[in-house]
């Protein structure tokens, strides 16, 4: 067996990195393929309101909020049923993957007049 010279040690390392990257990419590719991708539903935050205010989605789908205001907003479950977002500055997004069917209400904890509803169906 040939001893590892510094040169082919580098080659082995590079090969290993490429191989690892390939695994990561293929896994990401699996997740991103049409059959398994969670459908993304967008809720726009503009003029201190969530639009649409009520959204109906299937269980397992993704919901993404994007803040178009020059004011920070948050997305907080009223019944603490999903993780709360950090404060979203202008153009920042926040996503959740929906779980069990049901009706979920949420609000902006900075401007609590802003409320919205998520209806999750099977």
């Amino acid at each position: 067996m040939k001893a590892l010279t510094p040169k082919n040690r580098l080659a082995a390392l590079l090969f290993g990195l490429v191989f690892l990257n390939f695994l990561v990419f293929s896994r990401a590719d699996d997740v991103g393929s049409a059959s398994a991708a969670p459908r993304d539903n967008r809720i726009e935050i503009k003029d201190f309101a969530f639009t649409p205010q009520t959204i109906t989605v299937k269980s397992g789908e993704r919901i993404t909020w994007i803040n178009h205001d020059e004011e920070p907003h948050t997305v907080v479950s009223v019944e603490k049923q999903f993780k709360k977002s950090p404060a979203l500055d202008t153009d920042e997004e926040f996503s959740v993957i929906t779980g069990a069917p049901g009706t979920y209400t949420y609000f902006c904890s900075v401007h609590p007049k802003m409320t919205g509803t998520i209806v999750v169906e099977k």
Binding site: D47, F48, A49, D69, E70, E71, P72, T74, V78, P86, A87, D89, T90, T105, Y106, F107, S109, V110, H111, P112, K113, T115
Partner: protein, 331 residues
């Protein structure tokens, strides 16, 4: 409930319609706003608005302040970290406000900052604020938090930095005495409930009741908090849901002055012995209630911006029931 009629002396405009019995009708309010925006100062004494121009204030100068027992200054809504079109350099306008304070013939005894020190509660934003504030000759500053100061940690960072001078309770409320005036700093930006307004909460209200208990009814009271303690415009969340309970505890006092920020414009209402007043921001203006799609930052022509930013000077003279409140802009 006694409602005093507020007369705006400058143009001999009087309240014509006061449908909500708040002492301000729509027309009077808009005139008042236009007036505040054009750089005229106004003083309130005994529930009557009196205008004074900058020139008159300057002429009166130190002599008018000499007999004053206590003068302090309210500064609000500096929003350090905001960098959008409404004002791309809020640090600079904050500096200008401090320059104005440093230029006063008689420096105020202390400052009150009524919240929204920062835009996003970031440590570096608080750092910038603290660094710039060092240029202020008046060193004593009392704070209450705005919702922008407590975004991600329930106000921990804010409390660690700004409450070392006071004996704060709960989420950061406190009281102190200066020259016979009782000051109360309240927190109404935490644990807000879906669909609701600003909130004080049971614990704070019970503390307030106990804090006021031993005080004589002729003791002047100054209450300060970020969100208005009167319902300015509930659709935009400009009010505090349980403020009536706080005001109930304050009812027996002969002179109560309530100072708020949050709405980035001067608004005032006098109700019985209570004067409610909101200050301008040092960062950017916000629209008059209901006059825009949302209460977001209002963009105005660059040359007009400083006329819509400002600070509030408050003077107390012993023996007078009402404190004199003077707003001045940065133009």
């Amino acid at each position: 409930m006694v409602i005093r009629k507020v007369s705006i002396m400058k143009d001999h405009d009087h309240i014509l319609h006061n449908l909500e019995q708040d002492g301000i009708d729509r027309r009077g309010f808009l005139k008042c706003m236009a007036w505040a925006g054009t750089g005229v100062l106004w003083t309130v004494s005994g529930g009557v608005l009196v205008s004074r121009t900058l020139a008159q204030i300057a002429k009166a100068g130190a002599s008018s302040l000499a007999a004053t027992d206590l003068s302090f200054l309210q500064i609000s809504d500096s929003h350090i970290g905001f960098n959008k079109e409404a004002n791309k350099d809020v640090t600079e306008t904050f500096k200008i406000a401090l320059d104005r304070i440093n230029a006063m013939p008689t420096p105020p005894s202390f400052l009150i900052h009524t919240g929204d020190i920062t835009q996003l509660s970031k440590p570096e934003e608080f750092d910038t604020f603290d660094e710039v504030l060092k240029s202020c000759r008046t060193k004593d500053v009392f704070y209450v938090p705005g919702e922008h100061d407590v975004l991600n940690d329930g106000g921990k960072l804010y409390r660690d930095r700004y409450l070392d001078k006071v004996e704060a309770k709960g989420s950061g409320w406190y009281s102190f005495e200066k020259n016979g005036v009782h000051f109360i700093g309240l927190v109404n930006v935490l644990n807000l409930q879906a669909g609701g307004l600003g909130q004080l909460g049971d614990e704070q209200l019970e503390w307030l009741e106990a804090d006021l208990k031993g005080l004589s009814a002729d003791k002047p009271i100054v209450v300060f908090a970020h969100i208005p303690l009167w319902t300015v415009y509930p659709n935009w969340g400009w009010g505090t849901g349980d403020s009536e309970r706080a005001l109930g505890h304050l009812k027996r006092f002969g002179s109560v002055t309530v100072l708020n920020g949050h709405i980035h414009q001067v608004l005032q209402k006098v109700e019985g012995n209570v004067t409610f007043h909101t200050a301008m921001s040092t960062a950017f203006p916000q629209p008059a209630p209901g006059m825009a799609a949302s209460p977001g930052p209002m963009k105005v022509p660059a040359e007009k911006l400083r006329s819509m930013l400002g600070l509030t000077s408050v003077q107390y003279k012993q023996g007078k029931t009402a404190l004199a409140i003077v707003d001045s802009n940065l133009s």
